[in-house]
Amino acid sequence: MELVCIVCPKGCRLKVENGVVSGNTCKKGEAFALAESTRPMRTVCTTVATVFPSMPVLPVRTAGEIPKDKIGELMKLADTILVKEKLRRGDTVAKGVAGTDVNLVATASIYTD
C-alpha cells in the first residue's frame, strides 16, 4: 500500500509491504502507516453551538485520535451539544465520544464583550 503521511507538513511518501514501512523519516510516520493499513485513526476538529451571541459556536477537537469510521458518529453528537457555560480552552465539552475513551475539548475560550 502506498500513502502520503499526514502527521506533519512534510508529507512523506510511505509504502507498507507485509507490515514493513518504508519512506518514512520519523517514528510517527511509521506508526501512522501501520495504523492506516489496519485501522485508520484521525483527530477530528469541529464546532459546537453556544448560547453566547458574541461567539455562537465554540471550536472543539477530539483530545486524541478516534477511528476514522467513527467520524460520522462524532459529528452527530457534536450537533446535539449546546454550551451554556463560559468554557476555557482545554475544558472538556463531552466525555468518551463515539464509543471511545477520547474526550471532546474546547480549542478556544468563550469570548464575551
Partner: protein
C-alpha cells in the same frame, strides 16, 4: 503624545509574535487590531496541525492564537482592538499612525513599525469568471468565517475552484457539516495545496479532484443555480466540447493569497514582484528605515509556525532599530519561485540567516546553491520539492567573505 518603541499593525499570529519579542527586547509596544478580538485568521481555522514546529504539538488554530494572546497579556502589552489604521505619517524621529476607533480618531507615535497586516484572498473578479452575479460565490475564507465563526452553513451543494489549502480544508469542513462537495477543480496540472491536505481533506471523504479543469461560467439570478466546468489545455485555455454543467448553490474559490501591503505602499516601501510583499533584509527591515514586515504580509507562508518565527525576529529587530547599512542583494537564479530575505545587510548580524524559499516547479532531487561572484559557497540537497511546500534553512552568510560589491546569488537545480 505617548511615544512607543514599536507599533505593531495587526493582531494576528504575526503581530502577536512580533509584539511579544519587541516587548521582551525592552521596547514599549502597542498592537493595533481592527477586529474586536485578537488572533487574526486563526480564530476561524478550527482544524488542527498548527504548532508542530513551534510547540511540538498538533493544535487547532484558536489554541495556537490563544497561547500567544495569553503571553501578550501576561507581558502587559497594550492592545487596541476595534482600531483601524487610516494612514501612517513619517516624521523627523519616527512615525505617527492615524486610526479610527470607538473613541474617535486616535494617533500613535513610535520609532519603528511592524506591518503584520496579513494577506487577502484572490476573488472571483480576479479570476475572470463569466456569467451573472448571483449570491453564492464565496472565497474559501468567507465560507470558513460563515461555518466556523457564525455557525452558518453557506451551501447545500457546492463546487470548489482552486486547490489551495483553505479550499481543501473547507471541502472537508463543509462535508463534515452535511453539505455536498461535488468536486474540487484546479486549472493547473498539479494541486496547489499541501499533499497531506489532498489526502486528509479530499481522499478521506471521497471528494473528486479534477486537475487541468476550471469553472468557465456561473448561472443564476438571485442565487447561484449552476456552474459550467471544462477541461483546459496546456495554456490553461478551456477545451471546446468538454463543458459540463454542475448544479450547485455555492461556488467556493481557493485561488490564491496576496500579501496585504496598502499601508506599506503608501510609505513607498519597495514590493518584491515574486513574493508580492516588501523587499526585506535578514532582519525583515523593508526599504524604508524603521518599517519592518512580518508574516503573510511579507510572504505567504503555509505554516503559522514560520509566520511566528519570522515575526518574532522582525519584532526584536524593530525594538533594536538598527539603521540600514551596507547591503548585498541576493539575486534570484533559476529554479526558484520566491524567497526571503532579498538582501543581506552586512552591518547587521548575518551568521544565522533564516532563508525561506519555494521551488518554481515540482522537483525530484534538487540542489540549492548560493554563490558569491560565481563561486559556490553553500549547497544543500533536497529529496523532493513542490511549489506549495515552502522550505526553511539556516545559512551563515558571515562565512562567505561578503563585501559591498560582492555578487550574491541563489538558485535551484534539479539533478
Amino acid at each position: 503624545m505617548k511615544k512607543y518603541g514599536v507599533i505593531v499593525i495587526g493582531g494576528g499570529p504575526a503581530g502577536l509574535a512580533a509584539a511579544e519579542s519587541a516587548k521582551k527586547a525592552g521596547a514599549e509596544v502597542v498592537v493595533i487590531e481592527r477586529e474586536a478580538r485578537l488572533g487574526g485568521i486563526l480564530k476561524q481555522c478550527v482544524h488542527d496541525g498548527f504548532g508542530l514546529i513551534r510547540f511540538g504539538e498538533k493544535l487547532a488554530g484558536p489554541e495556537y492564537a490563544e497561547r500567544y494572546i495569553d503571553e501578550v497579556k501576561a507581558l502587559g502589552i497594550e492592545c487596541r482592538t476595534l482600531t483601524f489604521v487610516t494612514g501612517i505619517e513619517k516624521t523627523q524621529g519616527g512615525f505617527v499612525v492615524h486610526c479610527v476607533s470607538r473613541d474617535g480618531v486616535v494617533s500613535f507615535e513610535g520609532d519603528s513599525i511592524v506591518l503584520a497586516t496579513g494577506c487577502r484572498e484572490r476573488t472571483a473578479k480576479q479570476v475572470l469568471i463569466q456569467g451573472t452575479r448571483p449570491a453564492g460565490v464565496f472565497t474559501a475564507g468567507t465560507a470558513q468565517n460563515f461555518v466556523n465563526l457564525m455557525g452558518k452553513l453557506p451551501a447545500k451543494k457546492c463546487v470548489i475552484l482552486g486547490s489551495g489549502d483553505i479550499g481543501l480544508i473547507m471541502a472537508r469542513r463543509l462535508t463534515l457539516e452535511g453539505a455536498e462537495v461535488e468536486g474540487v477543480y484546479e486549472v493547473k496540472p498539479e494541486p496547489s495545496g499541501l499533499t497531506r491536505n489532498i489526502h486528509q481533506c479530499l481522499y478521506d471523504f471521497d471528494i473528486p479532484l479534477h486537475l487541468s479543469h476550471t469553472v468557465t461560467r456561473v448561472f443564476g439570478t438571485d442565487r447561484l443555480e449552476a456552474v459550467e466546468v471544462a477541461a483546459v489545455d496546456g495554456g490553461m485555455r478551456p477545451i471546446k466540447g468538454t463543458e459540463r454543467i454542475v448544479e450547485c448553490d455555492a461556488l467556493i474559490l481557493s485561488v490564491g493569497l496576496i500579501p496585504e501591503n496598502e499601508l506599506a505602499e503608501s510609505l513607498g516601501v519597495k514590493i518584491n514582484p515574486f513574493t508580492k510583499g516588501p523587499d526585506c533584509d535578514q532582519s525583515y527591515a523593508t526599504s524604508v528605515d524603521g518599517i519592518y514586515s512580518a508574516g503573510n504580509a511579507l510572504n505567504v507562508f503555509d505554516l503559522v509556525d514560520y509566520v511566528s518565527e519570522c515575526a518574532a525576529s522582525a519584532g526584536a529587530n524593530a525594538a533594536r532599530g538598527d539603521k540600514d547599512g551596507k547591503c548585498v542583494t541576493l539575486s534570484r537564479g533559476a529554479g526558484l519561485l520566491s524567497y526571503v530575505p532579498h538582501r543581506i545587510c552586512l552591518d547587521k548580524p548575518h551568521d544565522k540567516v533564516v532563508v525561506f524559499f519555494r521551488s518554481a516547479k515540482d522537483m525530484d532531487r534538487a540542489t540549492l546553491r548560493i554563490t558569491v561572484d560565481g563561486r559556490e559557497v553553500f549547497k544543500k540537497k533536497f529529496a523532493f520539492l513542490r511549489p506549495p511546500e515552502m522550505q526553511r534553512l539556516e545559512v551563515d552568510f558571515s562565512a562567505f567573505g561578503l563585501g559591498a560589491d560582492s555578487e550574491l546569488g541563489i538558485s535551484l537545480e534539479e539533478n
